[in-house]
């Protein structure tokens, strides 16, 4: 099963995290989970996943800072980061992009929608020269 893409799910709200994990498994992904920013960094450096789904509002080290650190590190710089937030106010997507996120999805986001976004990012990562970011919507 090592050829299946590894997704690192970062979300402090366990119900959501487990729901997405369940569906991603069901959709054929390997899934690793993290409940806060520090855990997310540890997991990322340890596992080097194929894609990271990052909730931005995290206790302690938040999603923006975590993304910045991942993107600064040589080991994890190449991993696409899909930002996930329940904040729909203007400015959030720009902030996420500035921090280094490759995609942006607003909650509520149905599981199948998230899978579609991840597929789009992975396709982009395989062809880095034509990487496209996907704009999520409610």
């Amino acid at each position: 099963m090592t050829d299946q893409p590894l997704v690192l799910l970062v979300d402090d709200f366990q119900d959501n995290r487990e729901m997405y994990a369940l569906f991603l498994h069901h959709a054929g992904f390997r899934v690793a989970e993290a409940g806060n920013g520090h855990e997310a960094l540890e997991q990322a450096f340890a596992l080097v996943p194929d894609v990271i789904v990052m909730d931005l509002s995290l206790p302690g080290l938040d999603g923006w800072e975590a993304t910045r650190r991942l993107k600064r590190d040589r080991r994890t710089r190449h991993i696409p980061v899909l930002a996930l937030t329940s904040h729909a106010l203007e400015g959030f997507s720009e902030g996420a992009r500035a921090a280094g996120c490759d995609g942006f999805v607003t909650k509520p986001c149905l599981p199948e929608q998230l899978v579609a976004e991840i597929h789009a990012l992975l396709d982009g990562a395989r062809k880095p020269e034509s990487r496209t970011s996907t704009q999520g919507g409610s």
Binding site: N16, F23, E90, K107, P108, C109, L110
Partner: protein, 720 residues
């Protein structure tokens, strides 16, 4: 003496020679124009061819007062020149000889001027032969030939010479007189002409028809034209001639008094009117037709002066009438003044007063005795007052108070009196005019004024208090407004936070429901699917609500930016229709599009416009059980704005509810709504968005008939 010898010798001439000599004399006389020369030659001829030794030719002088010698022969020339005879000396033998016309012998002595007698030598008789004159000449114009000695030969040849010389001299005299007369006539004519020319008025002599015979330059300027003159001038002159002829024809032309009449001519120089007095006199000369002498006297100035005089006279009349009216008006004015007015002469006597003054200072007939006393008292007070001014040289105006009595009642009347001197132009005192002003009214007014002032002060105090209260209330309101603003900001922040907090659990609800429905956890029974479907629908409705609340709080917090872009409206409408297509197909309603052909692109925030149109269309679909929904777009060129109208044939909105529907959480119909939204926030948001885009949403509706919502937007929204 040699000459007398020669004369004597020649007296012996023969008959043939004599004839030749006569011929020679006649020939000479024919060629000579000088009477003295002719006379001298004739006397010389007598001396040569007859025995006449002394001879003299006498002729009347220029003024025919005297008979003087014009030539002599055989006589000392000094004596000849001195000799003369007064023609009025009728008894003188020479005068007698001349008058009788017959030759006679006269004696030498005892006659002639100065007692010297005839200038002949010796005592022989002298033959006096009168020179015959031309038939037409008067008898006075004759001369005498005096010959000595008076022989038969002398008589015979003397007669012949007298006849030849006489007719010659007569002819010469006639010629001289003719020349003199012609010269005289020419001189007279020149004088006459210069007189006529010198007359300052046009003068002319015409025939009875007015044709000019003689005229002075002034008359010619008016009535005679030449080819060289301008067309206008020639026409003016032709007109003048017509007018002049007509005037002459209209005159009763008789000899005697000159006829007068006015004649209006045109000045050929400038076309102005010239008014003349035409004086025409008929003159008749024997053998000629009637002639008329006309004098034109220019009376244009005279007429103007007369007119001016009349006008001045009229003006004078008007001025007099005005002065009269002015005087009457003055009396009216004085009477109309509510205050008594009096005029006094320098002695203090009242000369003029108005009605009001009369009531104080005069007694009306039939008044009671008290009235007379009061009037006298008033008069005394007034006189005393005026004397203040009359006896003060420097003062021109005097001001004081005067208490008089009302004549009828005896009430005291307080007056303010103002007296002013009336001075003539030379500064002499002509009189004093006094105006009495009733102080009762002023005192009353002062009283009223004081009351008013008190009331005003009270009012001011009240206003001051009210203003203070108002200021306090304003301050309170301002604080409340600040608090409200703060509260509103808190509310917006709270709503934003809350919507965030709502989303997170909702995400899990929708996610798990979706996974269950997709059979992630195994197949479901129909009952389970139906129940999960209701969970899903309710979850999605809740999400719509949360999104709407978020929109409103964003707009109110001013966190909803406007992104301007230019875009075509038809495309946007097509997109909206595509999004609601699932609902359309579910309801089975007819949806129509009516787009104007001249729609210009809209410059606005596309996403917001789309959100509004989507809201209006979903509302229309939601509230229309059957029938149709029409989306129309039009452009109002004159106001440069676009209209997007969504009309339905739905349930409609009662007039009293039409304003309410734009409020938050409001729906006219509170019955359960359909599946799509229905919190009643859509129109509230749409209205706010339209307002952000500089537009508005209008509604027209009738209950049971349907509604039309119209979005009105400026074609171009400028960044604020």
């Amino acid at each position: 003496m040699g000459k007398s010898v020669a004369l004597r010798a020649s007296s012996r001439t023969s008959g043939t020679e004599l004839t030749a000599a006569r011929l020679a004399l006649v020939e000479f006389l024919l060629g000579c124009d000088d009477s003295t020369e002719c006379a001298q030659r004739a006397l010389d001829w007598l001396g040569s061819h007859t025995g006449v030794r002394q001879s003299l030719c006498l002729a009347p002088d220029a003024d025919e007062m005297r008979l003087v010698a014009v030539a002599g022969c055989g006589l000392p020339s000094a004596r000849i020149s001195r000799f003369s005879v007064d023609l009025y000396q009728r008894d003188h033998p020479l005068v007698e000889a001349l008058t009788s016309g017959e030759p006679r012998e006269v004696s030498v002595n005892g006659y002639g001027g100065g007692g010297s007698g005839l200038p002949f030598a010796g005592r022989t008789a002298v033959l006096a032969i009168p020179l015959p004159s031309d038939r037409s000449e008067s008898e006075d114009r004759r001369g005498l030939l005096l010959l000595s000695p008076a022989s038969a030969e002398a008589s015979r040849e003397g007669h012949w010479v007298a006849s030849v010389l006489g007719s010659k001299l007569a002819r010469l005299g006639a010629e001289r007189r003719l020349t003199a007369a012609r010269d005289g006539r020419e001189r007279d004519w020149a004088v006459l002409d210069s007189i006529v020319q010198a007359v300052p008025d046009p003068v002319l002599l015409t025939d009875a028809e007015g044709r000019m015979i003689v005229a002075n330059a002034r008359a010619e300027a008016l009535l005679a034209s030449s080819e060289r003159e301008s067309e206008g001038r020639r026409r003016a002159i032709a007109l003048n001639n017509m007018l002049f002829s007509a005037a002459l024809a209209g005159q009763a032309l008789d000899r005697g008094e000159p006829a007068r009449r006015e004649l209006l001519l045109v000045d050929p120089a400038d076309g102005s009117d010239l008014l003349f007095e035409l004086l025409s006199t008929v003159i008749e000369t024997a053998g000629e037709e009637r002639r008329v002498v006309s004098v034109l006297r220019n009376v244009s100035d005279l007429r103007a002066a007369t007119d001016e005089l009349e006008q001045n006279y009229r003006k004078l009349h008007l001025a007099e009438a005005e002065i009269r009216a002015e005087r009457d008006r003055l009396q009216l004015v004085i009477d109309a003044v509510a205050d008594p007015i009096l005029a006094t002469d320098p002695s203090g006597a009242i000369v003029l007063m108005n009605d009001h003054a009369e009531r104080l200072f005069t007694m009306r007939p039939g008044s009671a005795g008290d009235v007379g006393v009061r009037v006298q008292s008033n008069d005394a007070h007034f006189t005393a007052f005026v004397s203040n001014l009359l006896f003060a040289d420097e003062t021109v105006r005097y001001h004081g108070s005067l208490n008089l009595l009302e004549a009828d009642t005896g009430d005291t009347l307080p007056f303010e009196a103002i007296a002013g001197k009336v001075l003539s132009a030379q500064g002499e005192l002509v009189g004093v005019v006094t105006i009495l002003h009733d102080q009762r009214e002023a005192l009353e007014r002062q009283h009223l004024y004081d009351q008013l002032k008190r009331a005003s002060e009270e009012l001011e105090e009240k206003v001051r208090q009210a203003t203070g209260e108002l200021t306090r209330q304003n301050e309170l309101l301002r604080r409340q407004a600040l608090q409200l603003e703060h509260a509103s900001a808190l509310k917006s922040q709270f709503l934003a936070n809350m919507s965030h907090e709502f989303r997170t659990p909702l995400n899990a609800i929708l996610g798990y429901t979706s996974m269950l429905l997709q059979g992630v956890f195994g197949p479901l029974t129909d009952e389970q699917k139906k129940s999960l479907g209701r969970v899903d629908t309710s979850g999605r409705h809740l999400l719509t609500l949360i999104n709407d609340i978020l929109d409103i709080s964003r707009i109110e917090a001013g966190k909803m930016p406007v992104h301007l872009a230019e875009f075509p409206v038809p495309e946007l409408i097509a997109e909206v229709m595509a999004e609601v297509d699932p609902i359309i197909s579910r309801t089975g309603l007819t949806v129509l599009k009516e787009l104007a052909l001249d729609l210009p692109p809209l410059n606005s925030d596309r996403a917001k416009v789309k959100q509004i149109v989507l809201n209006l269309l979903t509302n229309a679909l939601k509230f229309t059980p059957a029938g149709s929904v029409t989306v129309a777009a039009a452009w109002e060129a004159n106001r440069d704005r676009l209209l997007v109208a969504v009309a339905d044939t739905g349930i409609g909105i009662a007039p009293e509810d039409q304003a309410k529907i734009f409020d938050d959480f409001s729906q006219a119909d509170n019955s359960p709504t359909r599946a799509y939204g229905g919190a009643g926030l859509g129109l509230a948001i749409s209205r706010r968005l339209a307002s952000m885009l500089g537009g508005q949403i209008r509604v027209e509706s009738a209950l049971g008939k349907g509604s039309t919502f119209t979005l009105v937007l400026p074609r171009t929204l400028h960044e604020r």
